[in-house]
Every structure is written in C-alpha cells, then in structure tokens.
C-alpha cells in the first residue's frame, strides 16, 4: 500500500506541518517505502495475539491530595513565548474547530 501526495498533505494538516510542494513527492516515496516494509507484519501468525497493553498494571491510583509540584504563575509563564498578567497569549482562533 502506498501513500500518495494527497495523503501526505492530509496527514500533514492533521499534524500541523507544512510540507513544501517540492518535498511532497519525495516524502510520499519515503513513507511508502517504510509502510510497504511494515506490511511484512501480515506474514506473521498473529493467532491469539491480543494488542499489548504495555504499562505494568501495578501502579496504584493517586490520592486526591495536593502536593509540591505546583508552579507559581511566574514559573509557569517563564518559558512562554508571549504572556501577560498571568495569561498565555496566542493569535486568534479563526475557524472554530473545538470539538
């Protein structure tokens, strides 16, 4: 199964990446190559193999109590590209795409 350049553009949009026209074909080729290779998995006998649930299951749930990891607003905003009065600032949302 191959990836077309339309696929590349569609996925790129989902991932918020811009792929220049010039690179789209090369990328489609490279991705296709990897995915075709990934198709070798179809040769494996996966009878009785359920998807791995990986995290070791013995971690207890957390108590509902505050602890010391909280940051002050100053620290929270320290690395902010743009912040003011305790808020992070971003350019406006144009299309309302919140689900």
């Amino acid at each position: 199964m191959s990836i077309s350049r339309d696929d590349v553009n569609r996925i790129a949009e989902l991932a918020r990446l811009e792929i220049p026209e010039a690179d789209a074909d090369l990328l489609a080729g490279q991705l296709s190559q990897v995915l075709d290779f990934a198709a070798t998995l179809n040769r494996l006998d996966l009878e009785g193999c359920e998807p791995t649930a990986f995290a070791p299951a013995d971690a207890p749930l957390r108590d509902d109590a505050p602890d010391g990891r909280r940051l002050t607003p100053e620290r929270a905003l320290e690395g902010a590209p743009e912040g003011e009065d305790g808020f992070f600032l971003v350019p406006p949302v144009v299309e309302n795409l919140a689900p």
């Binding site: 199964m1 990836i3 696929d7 590349v8 996925i11 790129a12 989902l14 991932a15 918020r16 990446l17 811009e18 792929i19 990328l27 490279q30 991705l31 190559q33 990897v34 995915l35 290779f37 990934a38 198709a39 070798t40 998995l41 179809n42 494996l44 006998d45 996966l46 193999c49 359920e50 998807p51 791995t52 990986f54 995290a55 070791p56 013995d58 971690a59 207890p60 957390r62 990891r69 940051l71 620290r75 929270a76 320290e78 690395g79 902010a80 590209p81 743009e82 992070f88 971003v90 350019p91 406006p92 949302v93 144009v94 299309e95």
Partner: protein, 490 residues
C-alpha cells in the same frame, strides 16, 4: 597519566571524594581540563556547557555513593540548571522548571550534572546526525558516527569527559551508541527507571539508559536510579532487582546463541567479536545453548508503527503556545502551529510524525497500529519462550561497525534497519546491555549485546563482568591507551 581523576571509575572517584582526598570540583573539572580540552572541539559531544552551573552543582554535591561524580546527561532529560532542547530548534533555550526523577536521584546520591549531551533530534535517529546543533563524531574515528540517538553522552564517556552518562533507549539509542563508542550501555527493564522528566518519544518503549566504562559503575548507577516513582505510573511497584552481586561470575548460567540471526548481513569482525565473547563466557563457566530466534525485521516493522504513532501524539505539545520556539507574526493560531512546527522540527522528526499520524488515522488504525500491537505481543512471547531455555542471550548490537557520516542519511529505511538487533528488547520490555569487546584491526570499537528476561539486570551485569574480566576488554593500540588511559583489567 593514569592517576588523573578522569580515568577513575565512578565508584573509585566517589570513594576519593567521600574520603575527603579529592574535592568534588576537582572531580568534575578533571574531565574538562584533560580529555575535553583535547577532544570536545572535534567530537562535539555536548550541547549545553555551563561552567557556572557545574561548579554550583559540585559545590552542592550531597554526600552519597556518587559524591562528586560528574555525569553527562542526554539533552532530552529535564534539568533545572541547564537547558533541555532535545537537540531541536523547537526547544531552543528551553529551561525546565523541574528535574527529571533520575536527575533528582543522581543529585541526591551526590552526582553532578556536568553538561547536556548531543543527540538525534527528539531521540529519532541512529547516528546523532539529526541534531539541530550539528553532528557528534566518534572519538575513535572522527569521520564516523558515534551512533544514536544518545551519541553525545556515549562519546563523552568514551573520551573521558565523565565516567557516567545517561541516555535514553527507545529502539537501541543507548545500546547502539555504546557499541559504536566502545563503552557499556544498559537499557533497563521497562518500568525500572522513571520516565518522569524524560521527554517522551515512544512512551511504551522509552527507558533511561546508563553509559559507563566499568561494569561496577553500571551496577552502582542502576542501584541509585532504579525503583518505583510516584510521578510515573508506568514504573513497577516492586523493588528493583538487586544488582550488588554483579561480580559473582557466570558459573552455571546458560546463554542463548541464536546464530541464525547473523548468518548474513552482519559485519565479519562483529561476528568474530561474538564468537570471542561466547568463548570467554564458556571459559568462565557458562553454558552455550544453541537455537534459532525470530528475525528482527518484524520487530523493526512493528516498531516503526508503534513508536511513530506514540511519537506523533507526544510531539503534538510542541506548538509555540506555552514554551519553546514560536514562529513570529502568525495571523491566527492554526498558522502559529503549522509555521512553528514546520520551522522547528527537522526532516526526520517530521517524517516520523507523518508516519505515526498515518498509522493512527481513520481507516488505517486497524491495519497498521493495531496489527503492530498484536505483533508486539507475538514478539514478547518469542522472547519469553527463548528465556525458558537460557538465562540470557548474546547477539549483535548493530549489523555494522560505526558507519561514516552521511552514509545512511539519504535512505531512512536503511537507517531504520540498522536497529534490527536492538528493537526487540524495547518491544518486549526486557533489559539489554552492550558490552564492548575490544577494537577491530582498524581501531574501531566492537561490541556484543546481552539480552535477558524482565528484571534480569543482575544476570546481564554478571555476564558483562565475566567479559570484562576474562576478555581483553580494551584491546587498545598504543595511541589510545595513553590518550584514553583505559584500564585493561580490574
């Protein structure tokens, strides 16, 4: 020369500092004054260097088993006293407000973070050529790669900047650079070292790993770092296995010999190294068990679906909103995301994000991601099956000796296939340890990989020790011996 502090093991160095014979500042600076002065400008192992921060760290060094010991930390582990960039432009200048758990534990034991090591961007790569800050070179041959993605810490430990390095291993990123740089590299059992503060790539595969030049040091660091962490729900609750018996020897242990894996496609000199290691282990009293094992191609295919899927999600947070790089003048938030991420991520990272997004996308989830997770279960079972017949396995780390810069960057798939022997351990969640076994005739490091079942770290360390003692671990030529001052026997 061999009295210089930087030549000492971490164990020996800490003992000197604790006894008061040596100040922590001296312990830390020794690697900078000697080896770094000679090597760093060529090797370029480090991305964050800060004499003030390391002096402060040395001054504050707690009393403990690692007092005064400098550690090179891969730049994807969060440190409050250095930037954490993951070798990416998108995190240029980023300062974490918190220390990763492993960093906290190191510091509590007295260790000092001596700087941040270079890496492939976001740990995606096998050569450290995908760093946004330029490649690191192999100290044994500056035209060759140190391996990746933890190339920086591996190279720094190899040339002597510090006796200990911390890296991360998702598909081999500690074990392979360890092999290429002639040092030990341990990937622990999944869940044994906390991932809190390790910038996530493949969450179900990532583990913090340890670089060192001595088996005893690997054991020491493991003992300090391993154990449950309340900040990481994927750590195991039971106490970590006890590795204090690392010098116990291998009498009575059985090691698996899956020779089918290296019948073709593995460098002859590496195969020689395997044979020698096997002979040493037998001489030390271990028994060889021959059997065939599942080829690694399936693991690679599985990995490049699971790891990229997880990564595509883990890297979504890098968006220019709360920290890191933000592309200027975006008219709206969507443009902000797209421009920031497109400018901030390198080509390999973008490739993997796209791959992972595709594997998870509507209509493809079952064929790709789900199938890969089922294959993963199969791979785990294969490993469990093999370990019913032996206590640990020996196999190559990489199919090739360290390759040249530029050799594989044109062909992503070829780069991915170089992980063919290391990926299985990440998928199965089991520990793997790279043990250097001398140099080739051309002076390049050779290594073997030891693989064990869950919590087999004690066994792997015992086997590594047997190789360290019985083998001529650092068969260095004259030049390297003086310049690296590598102890040949302990």
């Amino acid at each position: 020369m061999s009295d210089a502090l930087w030549t000492l093991s971490a164990t020996a160095l800490a003992a000197r500092v604790r006894s008061g014979a040596v100040a922590p500042e001296a312990a830390v600076e020794s690697g900078w004054e000697g080896p770094a002065a000679r090597w760093e400008s060529d090797v370029r192992a480090m991305v964050a260097v800060d004499p003030v921060a390391r002096a402060a760290g040395a001054k504050a060094a707690a009393g403990g088993p690692l007092q005064g010991v400098p550690v090179v930390v891969k730049d994807n582990l969060c440190t409050t006293d250095y930037t954490t960039t993951c070798a990416s432009k998108i995190l240029a200048g980023y300062r974490s407000p918190y220390d990763a758990t492993v960093i906290r534990r190191l510091r509590a034991a007295g260790a000092v973070v001596t700087g941040k090591g270079n890496m492939d961007e976001f740990a995606m790569g096998s050569s450290t050529e995908y760093s946004a800050y330029g490649p690191t070179r192999n100290p044994f041959d500056l035209a060759r790669v140190p391996g990746g993605s933890s190339g920086g810490p591996a190279a720094a430990v190899a040339y002597g900047l510090a006796p200990i390095g911390l890296g991360s291993d998702t598909g081999g990123s500690v074990r392979q650079p360890a092999a290429f740089c002639g040092v030990l590299g341990l990937k622990p059992t999944y869940g044994r070292l906390s991932r809190y503060g390790l910038v996530a790539f493949g969450s179900s595969l990532d583990q913090v790993g340890i670089f060192a030049r001595h088996v005893g040091d690997v054991a020491l660091i493991y003992a300090v770092l391993a154990g449950p962490d309340d900040c990481d729900a994927t750590t195991r609750r039971a106490p970590a296995p006890d590795v204090s018996g690392w010098a116990q020897g291998v009498k009575g242990l059985r090691f698996g010999w899956p020779a089918n894996l290296w019948q073709a496609g593995v460098d002859a000199e590496l195969v020689e190294g395997l044979e020698e290691a096997a002979a040493w282990l037998e001489a030390a009293g271990a028994e060889r068990v021959r059997f065939d094992f599942m080829p690694g191609e399936y693991a690679v295919a599985t990995y490049y679906l699971v790891a990229t899927a997880e990564a595509s999600s883990n890297l979504a947070r890098f968006d220019g909103v709360r920290y890191g790089f933000r592309h200027a003048d975006s008219p709206d938030v969507r443009a902000l995301y797209t421009r920031t991420r497109s400018a901030g991520f390198g080509p390999e990272v973008k490739r993997r994000i796209l791959l992972g997004t595709y594997a998870l996308s509507a209509g493809y989830y079952d064929a790709y991601y789900l199938t890969a997770q089922r294959a993963r279960t199969r791979i785990r079972r294969e490993h469990e099956e093999a370990f019913r017949r032996c206590d640990f396995m020996i196999l190559p780390v990489s199919p090739t000796l360290p390759f040249r810069l530029g050799e594989k960057t044109e062909d992503p798939l070829a780069m991915y296939l170089s992980d063919i022997f290391t990926i299985g351990a990440n998928l199965a969640g089991i520990p793997g340890l790279t043990v250097p076994v001398g140099l080739t005739a051309a002076g390049l490091p050779r290594a073997v990989q030891l693989l064990g079942p869950e919590d087999a770290e004690p066994t792997l360390l015992r086997a590594a020790r047997a190789l360290e003692v019985h083998g001529d671990v650092a068969r260095l030529d004259g030049r390297h011996e003086t310049e690296f001052a590598w102890p040949t026997k302990r």
